[in-house]
Symmetry: C3
């Protein structure tokens, strides 16, 4: 469905100027870009909570097309809500992309430009890594034809990146902790395939905290890729690894739990062998620091135990999954506001 | 997919205050609540017909999420149109909920809170009875996490309730008849499984008309549940039952026809045996009172005969299915306006 | 699913008055109607490019329902974007029409009226020819019931018509060529089943250019229907036919390329036998007039060669597929503005 993408085409850094830029990678953000984005996020959150009607003027007249070649309830609903709350419009494939020409054989090269002929910003989720870079490149070619420069936003491309997830995660940590200085973040689960933890690790490096560290817990075959670990160390972020629950996890400032995704395993037996290695339960949470944050990108299954366990975990003030989700909408609002209007919000 | 719900958690009565309340059952409405709601419905209908632009200010800045785990063309389109005409925004699952995590194993407990992190009101349709009460309960728990109190509206939960259908039915009867006093309402079809007729019967009791009566026509195995019949009698509503078309039906003020739903029968032979017991045809309608109203919640199939029969029935002024449908939009507008803003409309 | 439609019910001619009219056929448009529509199209295009906020007032308060019984990414997204940019609202079937009562056995006669109870304009795409005329007829019957006269717009009905595609095609030709006088338009591909080329041929006749001609290239079994050819000749449009690439094609002012649609062939061998008869490649385009326009309604597959061929063709200034697509949105904006408000735009 998609040709191999030359990885040479690096996305443009933000460097203080969001207006009109495609957002395809966390690598585009430096510390000061994150400061600007997170300030806008906090500001928009406050304004939404105060029912400030000016918010609905920010993206007025702009149209966002949603192209989700993979489903994702949270990313989907939060991008729609974000654009709507900014006063912008949203269009999508009426009967689901699964039944469209885009799914039945049309190249993404053409589908993305079709959407680009109608919309000002396109939010793309696609199972193939690199597809968002390719899409951004082809959208650029529309400029010579129709004088339009629609913006692409990566809403997850396979094992590639999911930059807005990492942004909302970092925003949430900072929202509760105020600083990453001397903070240990434990990441738990399938760290090999989990693009969320890769992207978050990169953002922690971009943030550049003093004394920040990562503690990586995974089954031995699902460890964080060495290049991510090396990048962290090169940035001055200390990294430790473990293959079972330990005291360092229990004492972490942040515990970032993830699901081991069955669909990534070729051999079901491999999945069965490790799926219960890391289960967050109420007794485990009780044994953790009273100052920790328990995070999870959701959806969750048995890696947080039973339905009753979920209820008990949710009742704990340290569990901030729902704040993470809501912040996802506000971070996306800030990002859309910045790329569409560049304005101070 | 859904845990058993303790039926103990009764929904909050309206008692004159709609603002912020979940709408899960017709049992929440007393006579004066219905008066308020139906006045608002009439008022909004007039204002829409006069293209009053103030209508589009009523829900401005509010976002509704639609979660339809079962399809329902009328309920779906009318809720969307209602929210849009009030100036509110609507978000939904881009590729259909069938392909989402919500469908593929995530608990409703979590899906509903995801939607609740982004939206101000959630319209839920679900095949499992009791799921709307459960959803409302879990939405309540979001308050402690994100300070949000999103509102749940039941758009049909299996064999449970479908309160907005019953509200639009009662509104339509009153719109044509002005009063239920001394009115006989015949309900025809599968009265055992039909949640619509259960809910309408309850609302008739809540309305409290003098001399109102119900005439219930069904195959012997598909009679109205005894607890509904008893409730009616306890409320002073006279109830008669029959298993074939009779003169009492022909002389009714209202004839509420329904479809015998094939999907409710475990044994196809049972369905075949009774499916033609009640068919509304032009000759039958001709034999009915000139003052009757013929109602049907639609969609309809052979229980109204052939396509040609449909055309002939539709041409009769006593057939008010289309008015029912349109009123559905106006009742939903009134309900959304009331729960979102509480305002006088 | 759909009864045979009496073809007797001809759609109402526009004759200078768009307000409230169903748009089901290109036959409704005479030259002066096209002038009015295309002026509005150009004007709206300019206003959108200048971010004129008055555009979003044109359809304010109006609701469009999309009923797409067949998928069509471009038609779908462009109608949605058109209505949104005019400030109107859009509603659709939440989980895709494939899972709705409309798909599972409800007659279109009823489904269309359900949508008509909630919406002001309905955009219908349906696999059965004639379904849009039928839908328009049944919508007319709503008037006596609910006092509503919703407008139907044909977004493609099987091998019937697809009027907005032909309108955008003619607009694009005129946009680049300014006049059709003495212009030869070559149409290439399956001219038997291609409703797009039938409708465009009719519009060329309605436009009434001096010295305009059509050159029709197709496999012998897939020639343009004789009645279309006769109509063209009766209108003074010269017609030539060929079954292979020739110099007349190369010298055409417009080359309208189309896909041979595999799904139209009962016998796959018949498709295989002719599918490579007409392939537009970069060498072929290089051999064509420097003043030609290369058009295609998209999506495209191998009839424009490989992915690399696509890239090379796209880079040629004579290729105007993307301008065609974007114009589709502007033509649909103009049409919606005219039927909904009749206003000068």
């Amino acid at each position: 469905m998609l040709a191999i993408v030359p990885s040479a085409t690096a996305p443009e850094p933000i460097e203080g100027d969001f207006l009109g830029k495609h957002i395809v990678s966390v690598g585009q953000f430096c510390r000061s870009d994150l400061d600007v984005l997170f300030d806008a996020t906090s500001s928009l959150r406050t304004r939404v909570r105060q029912s400030d009607r000016g918010v609905a003027e920010i993206a007025k007249g702009s149209v966002m097309a949603l192209l989700f070649f993979e489903s994702s309830t949270r990313t989907d609903l939060s991008f729609q809500s974000a654009m709507r709350r900014l006063g912008g419009e949203v269009v999508g494939v009426s009967n689901g992309i699964r039944f469209s020409s885009a799914y039945k054989g049309e190249d993404l090269h053409d589908t993305i430009r079709a959407a680009g002929c109608y919309a000002d910003v396109i939010t793309l989720r696609h199972p193939v890594a690199g597809s968002c870079r390719l899409a951004a490149r082809y959208l650029g070619r529309l400029d010579k034809k129709v004088g339009r420069r629609p913006i692409l936003i990566n809403a997850g491309d396979g094992v590639g990146e999911h930059p807005t997830q990492a942004l909302l995660d970092l925003f949430t940590i900072l929202d509760f902790k105020e600083s990453l200085d001397n903070t240990c973040i434990s990441m738990v689960g399938d760290l090999k395939h989990g693009r969320t933890v890769h992207s978050l690790a990169r953002l922690v490096c971009a943030w550049g905290a003093r004394g920040a560290s990562l503690h990586l817990l995974s089954p031995p075959d699902l460890r964080m890729p060495p290049e991510v670990v090396e990048m962290c160390r090169a940035s001055g972020v200390e990294v430790s690894e473990a293959s079972r629950i330990d005291d360092r996890l229990r004492e972490s400032g942040v515990i970032y739990w993830t699901r081991v995704q069955e669909e990534r395993f070729e051999n079901p037996a491999d999945y069965e062998a490790i799926k219960d290695d890391f289960v967050m339960t109420p007794p485990l949470l009780r044994s953790c620091s009273p100052h920790t944050l328990l995070m999870h990108p959701l959806p969750r299954k048995h890696e947080m135990g039973t339905r009753a366990d979920h209820d008990e975990l949710d009742a704990d003030d340290r569990s901030v999954f729902f704040q993470q989700m809501e912040n996802g909408m506000f971070v996306r609002m800030a990002l859309l506001a910045k790329v569409l209007s560049g304005a101070h919000v």
